[in-house]
Symmetry: C2
Subunit: 328 residues, 2 copies
């Protein structure tokens, strides 16, 4: 199926779920023959204006904080409020270990059954940390398919939070009902990414979750004031009982209403950031293509190293040739 036809299917009402799945698989693919069609599809998605304005929410938290359970409850609340919801997961470990930490479990069973909800559990591992750009494209595709509320979920293990922050309008950080050293599990700098903080498990550990919330509030006071004037609040909630989850949805709706100008600016800056990313990735892809076309496999590179002695000198000679001879 051509990218144009696939895109037409996914933006037309009936049966777009399957087309959406195929489209996301295509943009996640690292097979050389898929790169062209994927780029075409992304171009279509970038030029498309969804009929309803969309909202992109990043959700993160340390392993075990209850992200899936929270999204299961929170997502149902969103559907009750009339949203069509897509949930995308970014798994930062998949490109390292070849495995998946998110895909292992049965997750969000109730949410999965709702017709208004599309869940994409875990992306394929991409080369060169390709999860980022593919996930950004997946967000656009979900929006084109008529989902107006997009949750991008990731585990809090470092780099992924930045990627998710870089493709969403708001970033919600889930925290454990713990204190002191355990809260330090939230890495430096990540707290400042958050537009909203929620201490989960307020049902089973009410006292600890209040303490954790108080500690997080103190931590937030140390952060520099926000240029957009938004006040980051720390809420407590229980994904299990649903207590506090409606308030989180209210708070995000308020953010969306009040921070329209900031969100537009954020999206505009994100596009520039992803352009930088695209420039780097595309350039490295061309380098790989050049090395293959020039027959510079590892044996040949070893011979070049013997000839030019040092690594920088060898690299300089190869790059000079690359820049003269690489086309497209």
């Amino acid at each position: 199926m051509s990218p144009t036809e696939l895109f037409r299917q996914l933006t037309s009402a009936p049966a777009h779920r399957r087309a959406l799945g195929r489209a996301i698989t295509l943009v996640e693919s690292t097979r050389p023959e898929d790169l062209g069609p994927a780029a075409e599809l992304i171009a279509l998605a970038e030029q498309y204006s969804p009929p309803k304005p969309t909202f992109r929410l990043g959700v993160s938290g340390t392993p075990g904080v209850g992200k899936s359970t929270f999204i299961e409850t929170f997502g149902q609340e969103l559907v009750r409020r009339g949203h069509r919801l897509a949930v995308l997961a970014i798994d930062p470990t998949s490109s390292l270990s070849g495995g998946s930490i998110l895909g292992d479990k049965t997750r969000m069973e109730l949410l999965t059954r709702l017709p208004e909800v599309y869940i994409r559990p875990s992306p394929n591992a991409g080369e060169l940390g390709g999860v980022g750009p593919a996930s950004r494209a997946a967000v656009l595709l979900c929006e084109a398919a008529g989902y107006d509320y997009i949750i991008v979920e990731t585990v809090g293990v470092g780099q992924a939070e930045w990627q998710v922050h870089g493709m969403t309008d708001a970033f919600l950080l889930l925290a454990q009902p713990a204190s002191g050293d355990d809260l330090q599990g939230i890495k430096r700098g990540i707290l400042e990414l958050a537009d909203h903080l929620v201490v989960n498990k307020s049902d089973s550990l009410p006292k600890q979750s209040r303490l954790a919330a108080a500690e997080l509030r103190r931590g937030l006071h140390l952060a520099p004031p926000r240029p957009d004037g938004w006040t980051v609040e720390v809420a407590t909630a229980s994904a299990l009982t649903g207590a506090g989850v409606g308030e989180v949805a209210d708070r995000m709706a308020l953010y969306r209403d009040q921070q329209g100008a900031y969100i537009r600016q954020r999206r505009s800056e994100q596009r520039v950031m992803w352009l930088h990313e695209q420039l780097r990735r595309e350039l490295l892809r061309r380098l790989s293509g050049y090395l293959a076309a020039a027959g510079l496999d590892n044996d040949q590179l070893r011979a070049r190293l013997d000839e030019h002695i040092t690594i920088p000198a060898t690299a300089a000679v190869i790059l000079a040739d690359f820049q003269q001879n690489s086309t497209q």
Copy 2:
């Protein structure tokens, strides 16, 4: 001081410690004006043959396993055996958080005082994950400065182990005296990198460390057989009492004696790997230089995005110009 003079100082016997420190700082620097001198210095180090053959040992393990204490004890043993030892630390978190997880504590106090030992606690955070190439250069500089046993230490959090494996002759993995899920802290694939495994803290937790050793041995049986015929052993040791540490030194000496051909081949393959790394980094550096020279700051890039609509299309136009107009 010129790179040539700095290199002369660091390879001459007296006071080379200070010259070595300056040299490593230079290769770790990301300041544009340091890149040329750093490349010159690396070229000198790459062409230099140390008077004694050297041995490069990577040491890793999950946080809390006692790496510093182990290296403190193991290092003293190496000095007793006549080695001159350099210890380099790679901190994979520094480029993410701006902080350092290794530099916080006072570490290896006894080792620091020995004249035969050079310790470089933690590298500066480099752009683009620059810790890797700078650390590889630091290994070469330590060898040029007359250190014949180089330990490259890192915390086991994922990517850093691969970098360390890619710049050493042998990889020693320290494990906790734990079992089951706790041993899973050792990430998939990392176990197979190890040439030697040591369960630490055999003094305080003798039973658990024996159990952990047994479990790790079973894990190793599942790994594919090694092409070089080396048998990976699992030892127990106590960095605190020194029990078993001499045996680890024996084992590494045996590896070094028996696996000479494999180590030479490994170093040769590593050079090709670092050439790939250098090609990628140098190309991205040129791209940054081009964007700056062409006045393509974020505002200009945003204007280009408005003009060409999609990110891939904009990137293609910019890269075409880059490849035609970028020189060095």
